[in-house]
Symmetry: C2
Subunit: 317 residues, 2 copies
């Protein structure tokens, strides 16, 4: 695939919006930044929209890239380029418009745009870097750093299954072009707080094993958040803890909310089909990462959840 | 540097022991495995010694590499090749013998062997991979995986300061040669235990801030290990928690041992020169990751440590 095919004249002649998915992560924001800057450097009008939910630690990577908060933006006929969006429903809700370009690495992406580039890779940033390098479009130091951020975060720091030799070759080129690995280190490892750790303590204390140690469930109550001075935003990585226990095939994290509970489930193997289980409870997600909301209290959800997860565990998926 | 200079005929004609440092980590064991296998493949007699403290999750990487437990081994004139040993005191205590070869990436390594190769790099495994590739010595799939393990773990998964474009180029070559990134993922993320998390809870509970929040110290006592049914091996990653707190420039982890304490320090910036501070206490390490042992109790070490670390913190390094 060449960039020229993704960006024909009909798109390039309009001002462009580069958008990522809701609750932006490092891969979405990294790809937005690099694509935007490359378009600008080639003389095209492009800016990125910054979702209000973006973790603050990613904001410094934007630098002087033209950008606008998604909340204050009103659409007026721009071309829309989506990066790292697995589906159209993952775009900010006001995008009822037709999408012009779609660059993504989620292999179930339904190719919702007029021009689509969907390939399996460690990250959308890996795909985009490859496209930019092939086309000899500019990657400046800010873009190189943003692309490195996306590759590092979405590849699980170079240990997810999709990490290939090519992933490393592109990372090497990005470092040559000015990416600073230690800047990513700072983003990943400098933004915790003591209150978050107090909450983590309570979460670790709540962990219980079921099904001969194949299922691990942890939970947090509204009182835990209130007493540690934290919010639900602090729990972003907590579900990784029960999942990491030797012998655990499925893990679940039950959070009490004002309306009942929110349940996040993770499996080692996609064959667990957690997406189908979540659907039974009115939720959704991926085969190995899914969730749902419930009106019941955490303690009431536990036995129901154990029962629902027993079948995939007993069948060894 | 060429391998032929490090391994002259006088060394190669003797059986060889490949040793790492005490409390072996992924970088030490990875380098031991790859060097041993390369020597064997070239027709030389070599085996690695496995320290009793090695985390069990690393053992599968050894595969069919000739090895012997350090505890049951008795020395009988073998050549000794040390990898990833910052100093001679980091070798298992029974090595009073002269050391023949020393391959290491700790830049304060005093070059204690007859033949030394000491270079700054992400990891000893990066250096060794480079040496083996340059010399066209064999790297089979087991070695490639072991070297990848060492690079991943010692580079902080490609975000430490020492991560260069060359680090990624070598990682790419190792993946080409059969390294499996997802095998490293399993090692890093599938071997925790509930007892380790109970210990982590206690550690998080012990965290204290000093120097206006720039220094964070946590500690664990022998009773914590006894009561949770864990050993010191469980604490491998704990020092990352205090280091990750927003505003913390230096973190320290103090473990009570039978002989006193063991102190691990981490800094955000290598300009903190923790290696020099550790040296003052009879220890060693890297500018941003160093440690030492002390005869004093954890509670007695805290004020001494706070005082020693105040200068780099006050000078903003």
């Amino acid at each position: 695939m060449e960039l020229a095919n993704l960006f024909p004249e009909s798109i390039l002649e309009r001002p462009m919006l580069v958008v990522g998915h809701i609750r932006a992560d490092g891969d979405a924001i990294g790809a937005q930044i690099a694509l935007c800057r490359a378009l600008n450097a080639k003389g095209f009008r492009a800016k990125l929209l910054v979702d209000k939910d973006i973790p603050h630690k990613f904001l410094p990577f934007i630098g002087d890239t033209p950008n606008e908060p998604a909340t204050s933006f009103s659409y007026s006929g721009e071309a829309i380029c989506a990066v790292d969006c697995a589906g159209k429903e993952r775009l900010s809700p006001f995008f009822d418009q037709a999408i012009d370009v779609n660059i993504d690495h989620h292999n179930l992406n339904p190719k919702f745009a007029t021009h689509n580039y969907v390939q399996t890779a460690s990250s959308t940033c890996e795909l985009l870097a490859e496209l930019l390098l092939d086309a000899r479009w500019p990657i400046d130091a800010v873009s190189a750093n943003a692309l490195y951020l996306g590759i590092v975060t979405d590849s699980g720091q170079f240990v997810h299954t999709e990490t290939t030799a090519e992933t490393h070759r592109i990372a090497a080129t990005l470092v040559d072009l000015g990416a600073k690995p230690e800047a990513i280190h700072d983003v990943l490892y400098q933004h915790e707080s003591l209150p978050t750790y107090k909450l983590l303590q309570r979460f670790l204390d709540s962990l219980q094993l079921f099904c001969d140690g194949s299922l691990c469930i942890g939970m947090l109550f509204l009182a835990d958040f209130a007493e540690t001075g934290t919010t639900h935003a602090a729990t972003e990585d907590f579900v990784n803890y029960p999942r990491s226990i030797d012998g655990v095939a499925i893990s679940a994290f039950i959070e009490e909310t004002r309306d009942g509970t929110r349940v996040s489930m993770r499996a080692r193997q996609p064959s667990a089909r957690l997406d189908l289980i979540a659907k039974n409870f009115g939720g959704g997600g991926h085969p190995s990462a899914a969730g749902f909301a419930s009106k019941f209290s955490p303690n009431d959800v536990v036995p129901v959840l154990v029962k629902a997860l027993q079948r995939p565990i007993q069948n060894d998926f």
